[in-house]
Symmetry: C3
Subunit: 132 residues, 3 copies
């Protein structure tokens, strides 16, 4: 699954794509792994509520500020995205979701998001489904 | 698995329940997924030591303070639990545990906890066991 | 898999060991779980870049300072590693990686690390591979 995110940071609901893959697989009982393939991005499960996403953005910027970029040794490699590597660790790389009766076995409000912390490049998530 | 947590925040050791499910499943080799079904709660693995749990509680409150609730846009929806959505991301949604010889393949001190950050409602965790 | 880390904190690239296990297993399609067996250590996926690892070290020390050790109740048990229990939660306990065509299905730059936050003792990571 490929993404283009216009700004530096974005949260994209990818639940419909994961459900489509699951239907295609025909798996009834098993596990679905969904992970970011980039180390400045996350896949996580939370609420699809815009206010919350703004809160996450502000909170992550407080925990791991982007500027001044010179505070991070990693940025001496020519990058300016060291903060994105930290934000990704707080939010996580992957989720593993139970599949029961051919569906994602979700609680109320659970939705899968791709969280981009260093956008503007083409990015990818991986969906792997195992079971029978 | 259902819970009622009396206060707003609590850590509950659910290892015995996961072990009971595993025995019932008869699986000898495989993986166990245990996840919170609520987006203001966590399932995580750490030490069953009360002092540490108090430390976690205080530390999470420092990283993502509950008050003032007006600092979070999410709370304009009528909720007051935006901080709980953040605490949950730090502690994680789920754990995946190896099953070897019909047992949870644990290191010393590993115990599974349900971490509640917005209690007082009925909550649920999911246990999914795959293997043979 | 056993480790000895000389200092208190260290990041060790364990990707070659995981790949060796995968080859030995002969699994072509499935999932690999890699987790720390110690509750003051992490297994995580990120970039193999030394500047970034120094940045992580400094950043984690800011989020959960080691000293003064008296700020943590857990340290009254005779330990001085409460901060390591917190750093481990930020970085995570485990990773689950897709196996496709007999290989770890990685994006560019993804490498698996063992992160030690309370070193000087013998430590272990677990690798569990399922699939066919």
């Amino acid at each position: 699954m490929w993404f283009n995110t216009p700004g530096r940071r974005a949260f994209i609901n990818i639940t419909p794509q994961v459900e489509a893959c699951l239907r295609e697989s025909g798996v009834e009982e098993g596990l679905a792994l969904v992970n970011a393939m980039h180390i400045t991005a996350s896949v996580f499960i939370n609420d699809d509520e815009q206010g919350l996403h703004s809160d996450y953005d502000k909170w992550l910027e407080k925990l791991a500020p982007h500027a001044p970029t010179s505070q991070y040794l990693h940025n001496r490699t020519g990058e300016d995205n060291a903060d994105a590597h930290m934000k990704r660790q707080v939010m996580g790389r992957e989720v593993v979701v139970a599949i029961t009766g051919g569906k994602l076995d979700f609680g109320p409000w659970e939705q899968i998001f791709y969280g981009e912390f260093d956008g503007g490049r083409r990015k990818r998530a991986l969906i792997k489904i195992i079971g029978e």
